[in-house]
Symmetry: C2
């Protein structure tokens, strides 16, 4: 059945971010609707943000195009240019290689939701705008390091 039964798609909370950074993702819930629908060429996640929650740490991708559309609530896009409000039906696009780090914050008092799509690639590097951190993604999974590739130390761990 092509319609995704959202009640049957696992709701993923928590974060893969290391150490204390993980707690910054409290209030975010994600459903991998692309995977649930048998799509393999790109990922599509339905993301629900409680008031105050973040979509991710602010970041940009080297290789993967990313695009989102808001489906509920009022959200705020935060990037190098500051805050931009997003309402239902609003779209935002983040071309691969554009170093304008971005994330979504729910600054409202009600839940917000968006669908985000990103290309599937075999490897990827993501760069964080507000931390000395990058993520390398390959067949072995995620690896978070400092931007120069050395291990994270201190309060991130």
């Amino acid at each position: 059945m092509p319609k995704i039964d959202l009640s049957a798609v696992p709701v993923k909370t928590g974060s893969a971010y290391p150490g204390a950074l993980s707690a910054k993702m409290d209030g975010r819930a994600q459903q991998r609707v692309g995977d649930a629908g048998g799509i393999t060429q790109f990922g599509a996640n339905l993301v629900t943000l409680a008031p105050g929650a973040l979509s991710s740490l602010r970041h940009w991708h080297e290789n993967q195009d990313e695009l989102l559309v808001v489906t509920a609530g009022e959200l705020t896009l935060v990037d190098d240019h500051g805050d931009t409000p997003l309402r239902v039906g609003d779209c935002a696009a983040f071309p691969a290689g554009d170093t304008n780090g971005h994330h979504i914050i729910n600054k409202s008092s009600q839940d917000g939701q968006f669908l985000v799509v990103g290309t599937h690639t075999e490897t990827e590097t993501g760069w964080y705008s507000d931390e000395d951190m990058k993520v390398t993604i390959d067949a072995d999974g995620f690896s978070f390091t400092r931007k120069d590739g050395t291990p994270l130390k201190g309060e991130e761990n």
Copy 2:
């Protein structure tokens, strides 16, 4: 600016379908929000359907994954299994090669809208479920023929 200024994105109406089939797409308006946002790895179109309008003729893709999310109104997914209602936030996925032909119809009395994403591939063949027609897409553009590859004749032209 990552947010797409929808007021600046051209609204495309009409259809590339041949002959009398073209008129079946009356009431559909599309905005290429992925192109507008500089995305190249997949296409993303915001599609508005007036009451009675169709998203496309019922079809399936050989090579391109497709996924949609409803952003306004109440729409109906029509596929080999019949009618399935879709409301805001509902998603539907159409994996490449799945021969379950599908389209969206607005059977309500108000406009409906959805975002649809499809992978960009160099070539593609789409098969129509309710007509003796296929579409071949390559660097030269669209080519509609009968399913056996012979030219369309009769009332389609």
